[in-house]
Symmetry: C2
Subunit: 254 residues, 2 copies
Amino acid sequence: MHSVHFTAETSANGVLERDFAVGEIPGVLWSPASRPDRAPLVLMGHGGGTHKRWPAMTGRARSLVTGCGFHVAVIDAPGHGDRPRTPYDEQEIAALYRAREAGEPEGPIVVRYNAHLAERAVPEWRATLDALQELPEIGAEGPVGYFGLNMATAIGVPFVAGDPRITAAVFGLHWPDALAETAKRITVPIEFMLQWDDEHIPRASGLALFDAFASREKTLHANAGRHKELPRFESDSAVRFFARHLGRTAPSPA
Amino acid sequence: MHSVHFTAETSANGVLERDFAVGEIPGVLWSPASRPDRAPLVLMGHGGGTHKRWPAMTGRARSLVTGCGFHVAVIDAPGHGDRPRTPYDEQEIAALYRAREAGEPEGPIVVRYNAHLAERAVPEWRATLDALQELPEIGAEGPVGYFGLNMATAIGVPFVAGDPRITAAVFGLHWPDALAETAKRITVPIEFMLQWDDEHIPRASGLALFDAFASREKTLHANAGRHKELPRFESDSAVRFFARHLGRTAPSPA
């Protein structure tokens, strides 16, 4: 088992930001600069084609740290960010670009490639969580949330279904094909985001994935707009969702 | 045109509560006890079989006043609260109870009766808003919201569609039958609530009503649970929605 190896540290506006590695997996851990005794942890996954420091990641991390006092960790998914691509990665990415240029549906390629990435990523998330829980400011007892849309839902659904340490999750913006059966094993509270006019994911498909979760408490947030037009206020909503379920103070209003 | 006639006034915990009448229509106006210069107004409608002081009404009013500094007005719908029932009201209520006891669908009766009530209620809401806007602490220039679920959606959709003074609305928990065509004329921001396991309103019907609104900004909140199990956190969400759209400070966290 690998430990967390910190490689850089900065601090600004009340947020401590530490680059880390767990074996070959690079990540960032954001924490309250005041370093409280212990605080809940939210694991965040980035979307396809982006990486651990994408603006959506750093913005959400800052909200969760300053609003709730949580720790937030993001790692680069396989083939993303600072990580090498395999020949299979290159092949699938090329297929995706070809489909886009030809105006063909992206769904079949994304669904297939994300399912492949999930097989590589789920053990990495488990190892990362194992290592993070060794840190005294996180520990093995505290609640853990998972927040991931798009590709990070494809990775997060099998991860959360198989890891009882995750007690609340935010998912969304994905097809149900490879995920619905696994989602039926998830019973923790869920917030699920869907774009009502998504040009890639048919509305009925998005609704079917939401429907599949076995969670007694699950909330669908469907917004008018296309795939990439998720309103910014949904990030605030996700922060409040984690504040409610991971047991800390609700965030201050923006 | 009738003016607002105040009949009683109390004040507690920073909230001023005034009973009023506009002609024959009884209502309650909640305001910040500090009486600021001017503040936005939220009109709230109660559900079928309840009235202007139902706990859901007083709770939401308190959140909007203390969290946002808004004025909030509720009136008794025709045949509800302090208002007399017509023979037709009695007949429809009896039909509803018979259907319930026989285990028959309530939908056809509720849809028909609510459409009838809306015809009586919409002119009353217009007259009430006319009168409230004469008050110096509200005025005719400020933004106005409408918040009504169940029967108050049946009344609110035609009211909001026909009154350009309403600039944001929260609706939900209703069948589309008598409302979808009218909803197509509504373009203001909407938050819409639906229960995913509603035993009265088929899921596809609830989704169809949400779909009908022409609003560029509209958000569906669908929660697991039956018709009467709307989670309490959705009230907080509605308060934040109005804070965002009526242009005042977001509420403090609970």
